[in-house]
């Protein structure tokens, strides 16, 4: 019963068909969350619901949260260099728990030469430091508009 009269009541921001939900997570032990928070803000400004999980999350916690929150995208911020290990674990857990349709993107301190390996293991996009926030927001909005086909079960 999500009421469409909201359109009329509020100042008519075009209500999207589906409201995008994104999990922004920091995996590993590094404590710099300025970038993650800026991205979360940008997605909020673009009309999305952002679940921010805070620092020092394990891959298990991230995947469980992503499933419970039924997100379209998981955005992981890593600055400690442990991206390959942690992201492959997240991807693996998503597969195992029947959530392979949830997209995975990453940002932070990730060397250019690791990007092919990350794409290979199932990271849809890697955003290097300095990418304009609008670019990230547009990419995520694109995923929300055309989600991947759902997995059975």
């Amino acid at each position: 019963m999500a009421s469409t009269s909201r359109t009329f009541r509020s100042d008519a921001i075009a209500q999207p068909e589906r409201r995008g939900r994104v999990l922004i997570a920091k995996v590993g032990l590094d404590g710099h969350d300025v970038g993650a928070r800026l991205v979360a803000r940008a997605l909020l400004d673009a009309g999305m619901e952002v679940i921010y999980t805070g620092l020092r999350r394990t891959p298990e916690q991230i995947v469980r949260a992503a499933i419970e929150e039924d997100v379209d995208v998981i955005g992981v911020s890593i600055l400690s260099g442990s991206h390959l290990a942690h992201l492959s674990k997240v991807r693996r857990l998503l597969e195992e728990q029947g959530a392979s349709d949830i997209r995975l993107i990453a940002g932070g301190v990730i060397p250019q030469e690791d990007i092919p390996a990350l794409r290979e293991l199932g990271v849809s996009r890697v955003f290097v430091a300095g990418t304009p926030l609008s670019e990230i927001a547009e990419y995520v909005a694109g995923i929300v508009r055309a989600p991947a086909p759902t997995q059975p079960g």
């Binding site: 019963m1 999500a2 009421s3 469409t4 009269s5 909201r6 009329f8 009541r9 509020s10 100042d11 921001i13 209500q15 589906r18 409201r19 939900r21 979360a40 803000r41 997605l43 909020l44 400004d45 673009a46 009309g47 999305m48 619901e49 952002v50 679940i51 921010y52 999980t53 805070g54 916690q61 469980r64 949260a65 499933i67 419970e68 929150e69 039924d70 728990q97 029947g98 959530a99 079960g153």
Partner: protein, 340 residues
Amino acid sequence: MAPFDLRRIARAISAVENGGPDAEQVIRDAYRLARHVPVVGITGPPGVGKSTLLDGLAVHWAERGQTVAVLAIDPSSPHTGGAVLGDRIRMDRAASHPNVFVRSLASRGEMGGLASAAHDVVMVLGALGFDRIVLETVGAGQADVSVASLADVVILVAMPGMGDQVQAAKAGILEIADLYVVNKSDRADALSTIAHVRANVDLIYPGLPGRNVPHRAKATEHANPGLRRRHGSAADAEGYWRPPVLSTCALQGSGVSEVAAAADDFLAWLRETGRYRDRLHDRVRSQILGATRDRLLELCVSAAKARDFNFDELIAAVADGTLGACEASERLIAQLVPSR
């Protein structure tokens, strides 16, 4: 691993939130099943520690074998419609417990602290088999009444050093809470805050904290019918409830089991005195009225659009003073019901 299918539950909630034909079927089935489970609502101003307390409570019940669904509700941006939902951060223990399911909901335009789909989500969660639902609402400190329309037990959380925020017993707060918790009891001024809250409760309730048998000595009725309906009064045969004021240090875990016990006691009292049914009816009443209100507005708007009604002109007229706001409203309604 959780004893329930996380994906299925999550998907069901999303469907209810987003609406659509699938959702309607799910919701209809849930209402038909009518499996009403206890709903514990936690409200209060930002920063008092609601999420931490909720974490402790959810784990308390989960450890005793209950399956608990947690709903953490935060406001949507009125400008963009988006939201940042960060309450999970403080619910580490609950979020990792196999018996607990945690979901963040954005209010999506709903005022008063709840999410627009909250009533339906609660029904669906009951239908899916949870033993208990705990929800945390926005709680702006003033009348957060809508949580009272959905929760069976309303816990209002305060903390020391808030000064007059607790004093905001203007209308709302003291009418809806069944249990008061002063969190961060390790603070220096905790004792005086607890005393302050108790004094406020004293102004309204006679008797002892918790269950009270009927008595003559102060057989006053609550001047406020809403309060009387919720908690009874000294003249009632089944007795009445006086909200206890408890203290916790949620971060350290102290006092949490006492809060859980008090909440469970209130739920038991509701059932024993037959007031649970009243609660349920009140909840359904407000839900029906709310849905009707929304639906009527929706119908008005679509009728107006179908007749090419010029809303901007109407707005301009009221702004210029050529038309009163009430008249404008009647004109809009007339689109739906032309005979008026």
